[in-house]
Subunit: 153 residues, 2 copies
DNA sequence: CTACTTGCAAATGCTTTGCAGGAGA
DNA sequence: TCTCCTGCAAAGCATTTGCAAGTAG
């Protein structure tokens, strides 16, 4: 569906990168972790713990949580704030590209969107000014659009 | 501190508005709820359940949760996504003004910021276009800047 | 071999609820 | 007086953790 590249090979370099990131913090890229990263690649949008456990029945919930925690501290994934109370995760922007989200307030679904470079730049610099006025040191930003997704309409 | 208006009177109309909203859903504006709304007004930024319970020692935790739920469904307050795992709340934008947040990734603090109308408008229309492309019906948006606040720097 | 991983089950901790008495309109 | 509100204590539930066995390097 949303694959612009030949599945296997295009992901090989990414897996190698993940492997390196984990090694940096003395962690191993085990099969369970690979399965999760592969799921992120296939999904193409933030997924919840339940999504992961459903897609990988052999993976215990506690391991899913632990893997996510470890992958997060290794800089491989990041937690996404959704409109419902469930945590969702996606590959860190260091491994993908800067983007924002459409949050469905009806079903909780999260969809990726990529703003134009022009708008992105304008917003970014404006936000940095506002942050500076508060003596706040900005590191990144996130923009979410709340509404109803195509499925729920 | 951050009060541009004479405390009591300027808030009177807002309390009246809150009262009306609650009445609309057959709920009463009791002292506990008033205390919470008053706290929001004084704080001027999103507050957590713990903040509320600390500021209002006589208020049981369970009541705080219930009040927040009720005020939320009455359209008086809304939940704010922070950078830590704690829920925070603020007065709904119908009662205040559209604004965004600075989220401290170190202490979890949330600071309000108001973007210029020009940028706001540009971002808004651009986001609506992106949403339309996904057949997504946008209702509102939120913009957060993640970083380190003045206190934590 | 040594250190990190995993499963399972038990524990945590925030949040929600059932109930009975209290209060607003 | 009727309905909604409150406190307290008892759940609920997503997430975390202790421990012992398994496995990557």
């Amino acid at each position: 569906m949303s694959g612009d590249e030949p599945a296997g090979d295009s992901h090989a370099s990414l897996h190698a990168l993940v492997w390196a990131r984990l090694r940096r913090v003395d962690q191993r890229y085990t099969s369970g972790r690979q399965a999760i990263v592969e799921l992120f690649l296939q999904a193409g949008h933030p997924v919840s713990i339940s999504d992961i456990v459903e897609a990988l029945p052999a993976l215990p919930r506690s391991s899913a949580y632990r893997h996510l925690t470890d992958l997060q501290s290794a800089g491989v994934v990041r937690r996404v704030a959704a409109s419902d109370e469930f945590s969702r995760f996606e590959l860190d922007e260091n491994l993908t590209a800067h983007h924002h989200h459409l949050l469905c307030t009806s079903c909780g679904r999260v969809i990726d969107i990529t703003p134009s470079a022009v708008v992105e730049r304008a917003v970014s610099s404006h936000l940095n000014e506002l942050a500076a006025a508060e003596d706040f040191e900005p590191h990144s930003h996130r923009i979410d659009v709340l509404g109803i997704c195509a499925v729920c309409r």
